[in-house]
Point group: C2
Amino acid sequence: MFGKEVYEERRRALRERLAGQTGIVLFLGNAESPAQYRDNCYKWRQDSNWLYFFGIDEPRFAAILDIDNGAETVYADDFTLDDIVWMGPMPSVQSLAQKAGAEASAPYAKLFDAVREAQAKGRCVHTVPPSRYYNEMLLRRMGIDGASEPLIRAIVSLRLVKEPREIALIDAACELGYEMHTIARKGIRIGVKEQEIVGAMEAVTLAKGWGVSFPTILTQHGEIFHCHSHEAPVEEGKLMVIDAGAEASSHYASDFTRTYPTGGRYTPRQRDIYSIVYECNEYAFSLTAPGVAYRDVHIAVAQRMLSGLKDLGLVSGDPAEMAAQGVAGLFMPHGLGHNMGLDVHDMEDLGEDLVGYDDDQTRSPLPGLHSLRMARRLVPGHVITDEPGIYFIPALIAAWKKEKRDGGRVNYAKLEKEYLDFGGIRVEDDVLVTADGARRLGPRRLPASPDEVEEAMKND
Amino acid sequence: MFGKEVYEERRRALRERLAGQTGIVLFLGNAESPAQYRDNCYKWRQDSNWLYFFGIDEPRFAAILDIDNGAETVYADDFTLDDIVWMGPMPSVQSLAQKAGAEASAPYAKLFDAVREAQAKGRCVHTVPPSRYYNEMLLRRMGIDGASEPLIRAIVSLRLVKEPREIALIDAACELGYEMHTIARKGIRIGVKEQEIVGAMEAVTLAKGWGVSFPTILTQHGEIFHCHSHEAPVEEGKLMVIDAGAEASSHYASDFTRTYPTGGRYTPRQRDIYSIVYECNEYAFSLTAPGVAYRDVHIAVAQRMLSGLKDLGLVSGDPAEMAAQGVAGLFMPHGLGHNMGLDVHDMEDLGEDLVGYDDDQTRSPLPGLHSLRMARRLVPGHVITDEPGIYFIPALIAAWKKEKRDGGRVNYAKLEKEYLDFGGIRVEDDVLVTADGARRLGPRRLPASPDEVEEAMKND
């Protein structure tokens, strides 16, 4: 938790950005989330907006900020003797509220009274969309249906531009991610079960941080984006996609992807594709700078990718034209990157369009570009991922071929003959937009070029 | 997943035990549970009742069993092309339903129609209390309020008595737990941060199982039962309580506690208390047999514990009388043990009294005994924990002294002078009730006696 002045300042700034609005802002921290029965919960994780504005990392806290007069009250229940026996002594709610810079506190039940009172007076109750189902139930119980767009816009405008103190914490989360990936890379040995590598990798962030920032992807089927099966043994000649990150104890995230040749050296066919992806990653980074729209970076990368695929005979035509037609979406059906911060997809619960798109941007219907989570014009302090990938997805190839979506640009014969068992490749870094360009986050960069990767694996 | 005959037989048995009831049974599998935003979820964990009766380990499955005619339908949605791109190919709902022995399947939305139709006909819809908030919302949406006691009783009667195939899986989960605890014990070194030990320990079950069966307790403050802070470095002269277990990939749990001297040898004062706890653990095990009520085992253990504490001068009076008055509850405010199976506190979401108490038993108001989760007369196939403990909880000691709860039996002067900084000790094994007695689960027992523990730590 930062000093109370940090939270006071953030809430002051929030209220400033809500100028013109009236009513109250209702902040809901998280409750515990049951894994099995109600008392056997998943690892405790606070709501990110709550962490940002109040910092109190305990369950069942809430707060109301009165937009009109600036009054703030934190709602939570003090521990009983029974709680103390089971969970140990806890600071009082009042002392925690004070650490967050809020003067007033009250029992949790009073929250409902306060909301009811505001509603009875016809005042607006501003909330964000609930990410957890428990909070969704609370909002329904309070008769609150639908989130406040002004509140969402105000929060996004603040959280999107990271403070120096946040960037330091993201750098630290990236170092943890570096350590995770290094352990994982060293664990790639023919015959080892994938899950063994996952266990060793996740141990790093369990020992030094909060845990993983999202469920680990570690798979020899890189063409499946969210493959969470880790049952297979490592096989010779495959590509191992590892997409994983740490959530530090500060709750800031990191998120890296590397793609390794299971035997330590890429086959010529793998190296061809890998080189294109690596160059796209570097190219995107070189284009990342204030004032540039990240959607334009995505489009430039798609064109570069198509140019590389054309050299391999997999597509034919003018790369710029093909990019404009969305042909890259067959190979990279996802966007180039997303915002990252307290959430690994930062603020995704506030709505991708409000978070990732400027007011004058609309989401493109083009394959790939349609899935772009971050399109905005870049501003110093933005933290984004740079994660191009090329995948050969049999079901998608079949669908495109059948529906003739490619306008005759794709060499299906070659794809079907040589690439249906290829898998996929992705190379992902975390990037800070700086005053004059960009900086890769974390003190060390994971090996990225084909030569660097092979060299590292030789020495593992 | 077992063969389909297992699930068919369990549901047949369920219907049999629902003889006299009419209507439908609504089974709800789990949905994913968000950790942050809706698409960043905690590790997937299926509902235990669903696993027991259908075994399909995928999110958003449900089923209806018609009690009156035995018809069964599984409800879930097949993958779209978009799902396949993100999550890989999935077997069809129909083929999964067939693997569970259910002939009919339908899209998830039809579930609501089927429930509505039953309700319109005035048929009873039997459900269990929801453990996850998502399912609680679903039930509210369907206008179902309150669970079916006949259904709960039928499920409890089945799940409480473990099948041989389940016992084999629990034995395997216990072996994983053994490995976790062994790694943890070897990691206890003065100066090491507790969290480092947690990371190494949890890595074992992440690499070979599903994960932890509950949030790990690893603390030098054993007097706090659910202490989940792991910030402290290991200090000389302390007691380290490690209460942790594995959930195997089969989803069966293990749950062990050991209490280690941080420097490798118990101090005389620690050894005195440890010896009492260890003897209570052995004594409870020796009493565990079919026909014996586990509540009586708890009471016998409480008496033995008081007798040991009397020898140390911490209480005075007749141990049997003190046990009957609940004096042991100052030192062991929890019950002797709980059921264990697919849940680490098996079926706790079905209600502790219906799960852990026979019809002719009522929960005692006595401290300690009041918290007993498993009081039933034992039956071969019951799987329970044996976990006596002695704790010196400053807040509880102060409350008892102030309220004179002990009837003059407790030597507060000695407690306050010598034991307020002691912490706590617990020794826990997992036990199967057999035809003629009991067997500790798992192929190997963790070192338990004071000598065994010290010997193991010497060799670590």
